[in-house]
Every structure is written in structure tokens, then in C-alpha cells.
């Protein structure tokens, strides 16, 4: 990944004020995220929903 590649990705994310050093940091982040994503399990059941923390409060409509 060249510096121009990283600068283009930064621009896509609205990060137009990053210095060259900051772009190096972003490049490290991109590599790190690729490594993390590669380790996510690919065999989770399609019905496996994400964890939700929102709960209805007692007394509100629909609450039990």
C-alpha cells in the first residue's frame, strides 16, 4: 500500500488533515484491522443475532 493509496483512503473517510506521520499511523491501523477481520469466525449461524443491550422500561407500551 503506497502513501497515495493511504491518502486516498483517508480522503474517503473525510480525514483530509492528516500529516505524513498520521498517514503512516492510518496505514498501520488498516493493516491491523485486516488482521483482526481475518480472525473473525466465518461459520456463525445466520440466525445468530448481535448482542443488544436496549431494554424497554416497565410501564412503557409493550413492556412486560
Amino acid at each position: 500500500m503506497t502513501r497515495d493509496d493511504v491518502r486516498r483512503i483517508a480522503r474517503m473517510h473525510g480525514l483530509t488533515k492528516l500529516s505524513d506521520h498520521h498517514l503512516d499511523q492510518l496505514a498501520a491501523s488498516i493493516r491491523s484491522n485486516e488482521q483482526l477481520a481475518a480472525r473473525l469466525p466465518r461459520d456463525m449461524d445466520a440466525a445468530r443475532e448481535m448482542a443488544l443491550t436496549f431494554k424497554l422500561k416497565p410501564g412503557r407500551e409493550g413492556a412486560r
Binding site: I9, H13, G14, L15, T16, K17, L18, S19, H22, Q25, L26, A28, S29, I30, S32, N33, L36, A37, R39, L40, P41, M44, R48, E49, M50, A51, T53, F54, K57, P58
Partner: protein
Amino acid sequence: MSDDLAYLGIADASEQIRSGKLSPVELTSALIARAEKLDPRFHAYIRMTPDMALAAARRAEAEIAGGYWKGPMHGVPFALKDIIDVMGVPTTCHSKILIDNVARSDATVTARLMAAGGVLMGKLATHEFAIGGPSFDLPWPPAVNPWGGKHFPGGSSSGSGVALASGMVPAALGTDTGGSVRNPASMCAIVGMKPTYGRVSRRGVFPLAFSLDHVGPMTRTVRDNALLLNVLAGHDPDDPGSADVDAPDFTRDLGRGVKGLRIGLVRHFYDGDDVAHPDQIKAIDDAAELLRGLGADVREVRLAPGPDYALCCRIILRSEAYAIHRAWMRERPQDYGDFGRQRILDGATVTAADYIDALRLRAKLTAETLAVFETIDVALTSSSLDPPPPLDDVEACQRVYPRQTRQPFNVTGQPALAMPAGFTADGLPLSLQLIGRPFAEATVYRVAAAYEGATGFTNRRPPGL
């Protein structure tokens, strides 16, 4: 000031204050003087509030003299990590970004402590925005561990750990998103509790990652920690993550011992998935034997591999943190410290699908973990895998930082407590972690109190202090 007063805990100070043997003004004045003497060396405080402290101490003294005693925190000093709001006082998050950010109201936890008669001493150092540190390029220096000279105190609630370990204050609050109460507790030989997610309000606390953030009590003893949680816990309708559950007296089981309790030893976290420092391994294995000797049914259990929880936690934390910081990172990237910028940029390119998959993995890991906790009352495992490294050894600090086993319980939201488990031959702190079922903090404290009583590790003080 004698060491007895510097290291007086909440329970003992409260007893003396209530009986009229100790004046809150005398205690507060003594701790202000001690901080003025020691803090140029340890950098625990970003900002002290001595005028506010003395005014609160005088008020407490008058109230107690008039027969109105509010409870164990009445007239007792405390300090707050500087991401927690106090009306009229800057909340800087240890960052140039918020250097002039004066809070317009108290955080719920601040209000609860003040209503309990606590005496606010000031705002404590943190890693920048509770994520990037230790750093030497911020408006304030990083806190220094009083154990070992110039060592890393852990983080991100670094000032909280240091202020307690150096006898500057008997009570402090930290926050814990990936282990930031328990890390400084482990490195500074104090007691730090990350309560169940939702147990303590986060309103008025600058967020790091909404679904992983917890506020927790930090003290020098287990009893003090339970007393402090008694003040903090309770439903807050202004915190969307707050749990509408009753808060018991968390000191209720402290003297019950561990006989008959089922304690699961999660050995693969520190001698399997990763391998801890040999002294750290021995300290936890010894703790398991000690608890067995006290009558607990200690058995080895297996949870999911530690790296699975860490993966899940990191993706969620990065994503949620970047959502909070995106506007500043676009406009003011140069105003972050180097570590803080790196850690926050880590979230810029996480894809939505990866974030969702991490949340789905979280549901799976939580269900599997809670199934194991159906067979045990409390789990025992490591907190940090290493003793603290020298603070000026940047590479060592960055290497040690992720070598921990705290993130699993940010992912599951369970209560988890870190406490001292001995010392290396060089006198550096070792630690352990106790984890309970959701909302079973009292059972965690029960085991911690039994271990503390049998070992006395929380009585040790840093040399020279």
C-alpha cells in the same frame, strides 16, 4: 503526617470521623499536604481542588457534629479520573482536545459521592481519552507507579491507582472499557472492581465505547471497595445502559468465608492461550490452593480462548471509539497525542459488517461464558500477565499492555475484581482477578475478602512511603 493517616482507608477513617476522634478537615488537610509533597514525583493529579475539598470537609464536620451522619463516605476524601464531570471544573480527558472543557453539571457518580458527604480532592491522570498511553506528549505527564521507582502504573485509570498506592487519597473512581480499572489495580497493588455492565451510571462520564464502558470503585482494601460501590450503585434513568435492578449492601457477605463456594480456575488464560510471567503463574496457582485450603471447591474450568474475547473486544472498542472521535480526528488530528491518535485511528476503517460480526460473536461468547458460570459461583484467573515494566521503556509498556485477561469480562459485562496477589523478588506487584455472575458483586467481594484476610497483601506499602 504519619503513615497511619496517609493510608487510612474508608472504613477506618469513617469510624474515627463518626466517633469524633478524627476531623474531616484534619484528614483532608493532611492529604492535600501529602499530595503537594509527593505529586511532583508521581503525577497522579491533573488538577487538585483544595478549596472545594476544605469547604466540603468543614461542611461534613459541622453536619456530623450536629448529629447528622450520612454514611461511610461522610467527610472522607475521594478523587475522580479526569473523564468524570464535576460541575464548574474542567474535564480534560488528559488531552489537549478538551483542555478548556468545563463541565456544566456533575456526573451521576459525582453527585452520588457528594450527596454521601464525600470530599472531592481533585481530578486524576488518565491515558488520553482513556485509551492512548502512557504518553509523554500530552499537556500533563503520565502518572508514575510508586512501586519500583519509575514503573508503569497501568491504565487507563493510572492516576487513580497511583493516588491510592501512594497514600494521597483513600477512594478513587476509574473507568473500565477493556480493563482500565483492573490494570492499574494490578500494577499498583490495590483493589479495583469493574461492576456488572449497567450497575453504575455512566452519565457525565466521557465515553470510550458505549457498550463496553463501566465506572468502577478503586480502593486499597476489599471492604473499602464494597463500601464505595454501595454509594455508586443504583439505577439511573439518564443512562441508557443503566440496569433497573436493586443494589444490595455489598459488604453483606464479607465475613462469610469461602467454605462451600465453587470457584472455577481459568488456568488456560494465563498458562495456555498465553503464558504469564512465572511469578504471576505461581501467584494465581498459590491463590487457588489457598482458597481450597479455606474450604472452597476449586476446580479448573475452560472458557473460550482468551484471544477470541480480545478480538471481539478490540473490534467493538475501535468502532465505537472512532464514532465518538471522528469529528475531532477530521479537524484536529494534530491535537491528539501520538498513542491516542493511533488507537483512535484504528477504528476509522473497521467495516460495518466486521463490527456487526463482532457483536454477533459477543452474543455467542457471552452465552457460552454464562453457561460455565451456571456450574460455579466465582472464577479465579489472571488480570495482568506481567509485573509493571519501567515507564520510560516505551516498547515494554506497549508489549505488556495487551498481555492481559480482563477484556473477556468487558465483552460479557460480568463483575470482575483485580487485587494484589503477592510481589516479585524485586518488590513489583502481582495480581489476580475474580469474576462473578451478573450482578453478583457481593459474592466476588466475599471471595476477595477471604483471600485478603488470609494473605495480608493489601497491607503492604510501597518502600519509602
